[in-house]
């Protein structure tokens, strides 16, 4: 396979945290303990200009809670008028019909809502926020009503791994046709609460086998996984654009102050988009280079799946061992 930078002169997606502020304190969140100065609107627009110039086609706002920044609409409108495909992930608390209509009007292509359980009490307890389930579901309905594409995101953990089918049904009931079953990241609060929330490697394997079987039988919903370790299963047949983690290859993450990290879960800054030449960062950053050319270490050395799996999720390996090249702690081999 050609080197990533030979294929791509820039990432396809920037996951953009405009603010780490949030109205929730979720059990798994990676960003509750983060603090970071935020850019003023003029500087945010300069960042958009750079992304346009670099031909980055997609931006996805995450957080923190994107709707907390009152000027999100202005930012999104500016970006979509300049040709970027704009989406975001929200907890849905502030997403009523008026907000949904505004998001549509300023050019959002889709909006993802995080729902972790189809049982209101479980979701609310996980999110430490009574009433959050109801508001999240109301958010999905508001999006459907105004005709803006919705997606649903669920972080798989002990609280929901046996009930993922119910999550899919919930999506169906509310007009969602794409569901992301995210892998548990163990950074930030996720790392602190890991013992309670994370599955064992054997449970991950069983979960993915089951979820893949369901995916293959499902045609009314797109079920997506973002866990590179899944590629070690022969049952996984998806053709992906790159092998292993997509961070640093297809996507990068922007912090509120313009610092770039490979992904939201890897707290290593590779440069600042407003202060440094982006191409230099993309083509020359030693950290990005190391992530793109991982060395099979420990049990990955000699593993026949390494070509496809590339040691799994780099963020998890890094969070637990401090080394990109170590095997993903979720690996069941």
């Amino acid at each position: 396979m050609a080197e990533v930078t030979e294929m791509f002169s820039a990432p396809l997606t920037f996951n953009w945290t405009l603010s780490y502020r949030c109205n929730f304190v979720c059990e798994h969140c990676y960003s509750r303990d983060e603090e970071c100065p935020e850019l003023a609107i003029q500087d945010i627009k300069r960042v958009v200009d750079i992304l346009v110039e670099q031909q980055v086609p997609f931006i996805n706002f995450g957080g923190g809670e994107p709707l907390i920044r009152k000027d999100l609409y202005e930012v999104a409108e500016y970006a979509s008028k300049r040709g970027l495909n704009v989406s975001m992930n929200t907890n849905g608390w502030l997403l009523d019909e008026v907000a949904a209509q505004r998001l549509k009007d300023v050019g959002f292509k889709s909006v993802g809502i995080s729902i972790d359980s189809s049982e209101a009490s479980v979701h609310d307890a996980f999110r430490n926020m009574p009433g959050s389930y109801e508001k999240a579901v109301r958010g999905l309905d508001a999006l459907r009503k105004v005709g803006l594409k919705s997606t649903m995101s669920s972080v798989i953990s002990r609280i929901n791994y046996q009930a993922f089918r119910e999550l899919l049904d919930l999506a169906r009931e509310h007009g969602v046709n794409q569901v992301y079953l995210h892998n548990f990241k163990c950074s930030g609060r996720g790392l602190k609460n890991r013992e309670e929330l994370d599955l064992t490697p054997a449970e991950w394997q069983a979960f993915y086998l089951e979820a893949l079987a369901v995916k293959h039988q499902t045609d009314d919903l797109t079920i997506s996984f973002d866990d590179p370790v899944i590629a070690s299963l022969p049952e996984y047949q998806e053709k992906t654009m790159v092998k292993g983690s997509s961070c640093g290859k297809l996507s990068l993450h922007l912090r509120p102050n313009g610092d770039i990290t490979p992904c939201g879960f890897i707290p290593v800054v590779v440069g600042n988009i407003l202060k440094e030449d982006f191409e230099k960062i993309w083509f020359d950053s030693p950290v990005l280079k190391a992530m793109r050319a991982k060395e099979a270490t420990g049990k990955c050395a000699g593993c026949s799946a390494f070509d496809d799996c590339q040691g799994g999720c780099t963020a998890r390996a890094f969070a637990t061992t401090g080394d990109f090249n170590q095997p993903d702690p979720h690996c069941w081999k």
Binding site: M7, S9, P57
Partner: protein, 104 residues
């Protein structure tokens, strides 16, 4: 109107560095038919177009007739328009069948 138009469902970009390299290789007399210079993204899948395909694609804005596209391509490669007309035709027909181009 039958002028070819890029489907709004497709996100695409010219990979400028690669295009520059392919142009260099072409000048050196190498075969560049299999080298992609434009990437197309459609529901999570990526496709690539080679230099000629990419140049045609970039002109498919719904405003240009097939003849105009062929004329521009001929000018790029310093050949007669008739020499490229059937290539343009074939390419556009193929991409219309795939739904990547529509009638503008």
């Amino acid at each position: 109107m039958n002028n070819p138009l890029r489907s709004p469902d497709i996100v695409w970009r010219v990979e400028k560095r690669r295009q520059a390299e392919v142009l260099k290789a072409l000048e050196a007399g190498e075969d560049v038919d299999d080298s992609g210079t434009v990437i197309l993204l459609q529901s999570g899948m990526m496709h690539q177009l080679n230099l000629v395909g990419g140049l045609i694609w970039q002109q498919c804005d719904g405003q240009q007739t097939l003849a105009a596209i062929a004329a521009e391509l001929a000018r790029e490669f310093s050949v007669e328009q008739e020499e490229v007309e059937s290539d343009v035709d074939e390419f556009v027909t193929d991409l219309k069948e795939r739904g990547w181009l529509i009638n503008g």
